[in-house]
């Protein structure tokens, strides 16, 4: 067992456990907080996979912005009294069976996955030489310019939507 595998083992175990915690916490605030912990682990894993830029984005944007938005909303909704009731729905055994079956199917099929296609040009050395940020930036603003612009419209729609749905005055 190499060091890398031990490193992965730690992250995998932790991420699984934290995922279960996220799903099972009664209090949504706890869920969000565990989610933040999960994101830190994910960022670690991304670093391990030579995706430094994404690791940073995961922390800054996902954890720092999106999850905080969740926290705000939870506070806004003021969900104290919900805590007394059962956290799962009536259909939870069905859901559990479905999810387990799903896992079995996925693992049995994906367990044998190997790298099939020809390797691309973005080898670790190449990314390291140029820097992760530089590499992604280069691609994003040339090859992926169009999706990038579409994403900008998407964010605009999100702003408009949030305003229309939550803020706009209706007489």
């Amino acid at each position: 067992m190499t060091l890398q595998q031990i490193y992965f083992g730690y992250f995998a175990t932790m991420m699984t456990i934290i995922s279960l915690l996220v799903v099972s916490r009664k209090n949504p605030v706890h869920s969000v907080l565990w989610m933040l912990v999960l994101f830190v682990h994910m960022a670690g894993l991304y670093l391990f996979l030579n995706a430094e830029f994404l690791a940073a984005v995961q922390i800054i944007v996902y954890a720092g912005a999106i999850m905080v938005l969740f926290l705000f909303v939870i506070m806004l909704l003021n969900l104290r009294k919900e805590e007394k009731e059962f956290r799962l729905q009536k259909q939870w055994p069905v859901s559990a069976v479905t999810a387990v079956l799903f896992l079995v199917v996925l693992v049995s099929i994906l367990g044998k996955i190997t790298v099939l296609p020809e390797l691309g040009e973005y080898s670790i050395d190449m990314i390291n030489a140029q820097g992760s940020l530089m590499t992604i930036g280069n691609v994003l603003y040339t090859k992926y310019l169009l999706p990038f612009e579409i994403a900008s419209v998407l964010l605009l729609v999100a702003i408009v939507g949030a305003v229309v749905l939550a803020k706009k005055r209706i007489e």
């Binding site: 996925l106 099929i109 994906l110 044998k112 996955i113 099939l116 296609p117 020809e118 390797l119 691309g120 190449m126 140029q130 280069n138 691609v139 603003y141 040339t142 090859k143 992926y144 310019l145 169009l146 999706p147 579409i150 994403a151 419209v153 998407l154 605009l156 729609v157 999100a158 408009v160 939507g161 305003v163 229309v164 749905l165 706009k168 209706i170 007489e171």
Partner: protein, 484 residues
């Protein structure tokens, strides 16, 4: 390594229609700040759409398939034809919404802007040559429609519809993403053409992981076009959403879903046709069955039309199952016809909505022929067309799909489809019976507006004209899909 930023003029030209719509959407939001009468905003939206339509018309001259923006975006007749469907859908929707949104007290400028954004999302989907662009286009469309569904904030039905649509939609896009991820992992690319190339060179058409990726993507598209068992959101959302949006999303996202389906299945997964046909056949049968059967016991017309649209998705799917270019032609032809008849039917539903009166119950249609003969006659035309009775366009649409299906050797499937089509005739005819053979229980006031009348005139005339002279549309479709 420095990649130069290269955008050629052709690149910009290719996305002019989408750009136009997005810019007009922005202008509308600015206009909304200064203009009090929302009719003007709506008219600006229509003008913008016409402008975009003109752009697409100009691009129709470019017959060869063109890949622009580093193979992210494709410009071909197939995409252009779908864009025409989206424009028609958009214009008709705006026409039928103006008065209606005032009655619903939700007449915001953003409403029209979001319609434009949603449509540009659909257009991006139709033109996507890369799964990343596809994903973003789909999300742009989906997010805009989620907002539009929940636009009537004071109405619990609208809120609930938005919640259901949003959560299930996000759930389905998780599957889409998983499918994209697996496909990417197996082929090493997200480009549609390169995926097709990789599948054939790597010989992974029979790889279980590819199956999984394919199924996950089909599931996501099935959700968008409301194929059973991924249709569950549709009746609830259609009922709860503002009726004009119901009309909009019973056509737009469905057409976009089929556009993507046709492109992905036939383009990227062309080598796996045997596999995806295996999956689609049971889905199609289940869809036609649920749509036609459950619609029989509906009492709310929006809900009934929702199930009807589910059944129609099943028929449209049949053309894709046929797996030939002719089959795809038949499906696309059907979609265009479906656009007219479905929006026409919803326009009548909207007309019944007046201040303080919902007009969504089937009983509200009793005796309509006596009090409003023209509206009843139009509804009759739309119902006949939806039921597929000649000489309306609906018959032609179904007919071609069934013929192509039989031509490809799926005769039993065609017979099943015909049986369900016959069953579905009952609930359409029930409305006709209500209108013509029952006595009214209450006074019905129709809400009329000039744009609404235009929309009704256009849809009804098209339903009849396409039924009597179907070949010109078909030639148009064939011409468009030829290069595909």
């Amino acid at each position: 390594m420095d990649l130069p930023i290269t955008i050629t003029l052709m690149d910009i030209r290719a996305i002019v229609p989408e750009l136009t719509l997005i810019c007009v959407g922005l202008i509308i939001m600015l206009l909304d700040l200064v203009v009090k009468k929302k009719d003007l905003v709506a008219l600006a939206g229509i003008a913008g759409t016409v402008l975009a339509l003109f752009g697409t018309y100009k691009l129709y001259g470019v017959t060869d398939t063109q890949f622009v923006f580093s193979n992210m975006f494709v410009l071909d007749g197939y995409a252009n034809f779908f864009k025409v469907i989206f424009y028609i859908n958009l214009i008709l929707t705006i026409c039928i919404s103006i008065k209606y949104m005032e009655i619903e007290k939700s007449s915001f400028g953003e409403y029209y802007a979001l319609l434009l954004f949603a449509t540009s999302g659909m257009m991006i989907m139709a033109s996507a040559a890369d799964l990343i662009v596809l994903y973003l286009g789909l999300e742009l469309m989906a997010l805009s429609t989620y907002i539009l569904t929940g636009l009537m904030r004071k109405q619990p039905r609208s809120n609930e519809a938005a919640i259901k649509y949003f959560f299930l939609g996000a759930f389905s896009s998780a599957f889409l993403l998983y499918g994209i991820s697996l496909t990417y992992g197996m082929t090493g690319t997200t480009n549609i053409k390169e995926i097709a190339f990789a599948i054939s060179t790597l010989g992974i058409a029979d790889n279980p992981i590819m199956y999984l990726g394919l199924i996950f993507m089909i599931v996501a598209f099935s959700f968008k076009v409301a194929l059973a068992p991924f249709h569950m959101w549709a009746p609830d959302v259609y009922e709860g959403a503002p009726t004009s949006i119901t009309a909009f999303m019973s056509v737009g996202p469905k057409a976009a879903g089929f556009a993507v389906m046709g492109r992905i299945l036939m383009g990227a997964f062309g080598d796996m046709q045997a596999q995806w046909v295996t999956v689609l056949i049971p889905l199609a049968v289940l869809t036609m069955a649920t749509g036609s059967i459950i619609a029989l016991s509906q009492t709310n017309i929006k809900r009934m039309l929702a199930y009807s649209s589910i059944a129609h998705a099943g028929y449209i799917l049949l053309g894709i199952i046929a797996g030939t270019p002719e089959g795809l032609t038949a499906s696309v032809n059907y979609l265009m016809i479906y656009t007219f008849m479905n929006i026409g039917a919803f326009a009548i539903v909207i007309m019944l909505r007046s201040k303080g009166f919902q007009g969504e119950n089937l009983d509200d249609y009793k005796g309509l022929a006596k009090s409003h003969p023209v509206a009843a006659a139009l509804m009759l035309i739309f119902m006949f067309s939806l039921a597929g009775i000649p000489p309306t366009a609906g018959f032609i649409g179904k007919f071609y799909v069934f013929m192509e299906l039989i031509g490809s050797g799926y005769t039993p499937l065609a017979i099943i489809a015909i049986i369900f089509s016959a069953i579905s005739a009952f609930f359409y005819l029930r409305i006709v019976v209500y209108m013509y053979m029952k006595d009214a229980e209450q006074e019905i006031v129709l809400t009329q507006s000039p744009t609404m009348n235009i929309a009704l005139a256009v849809t009804s005339v098209m339903v009849l004209v396409l039924g009597i002279f179907p070949s010109f549309l078909l030639y148009f479709v064939r011409y468009s899909i030829m290069g595909y």
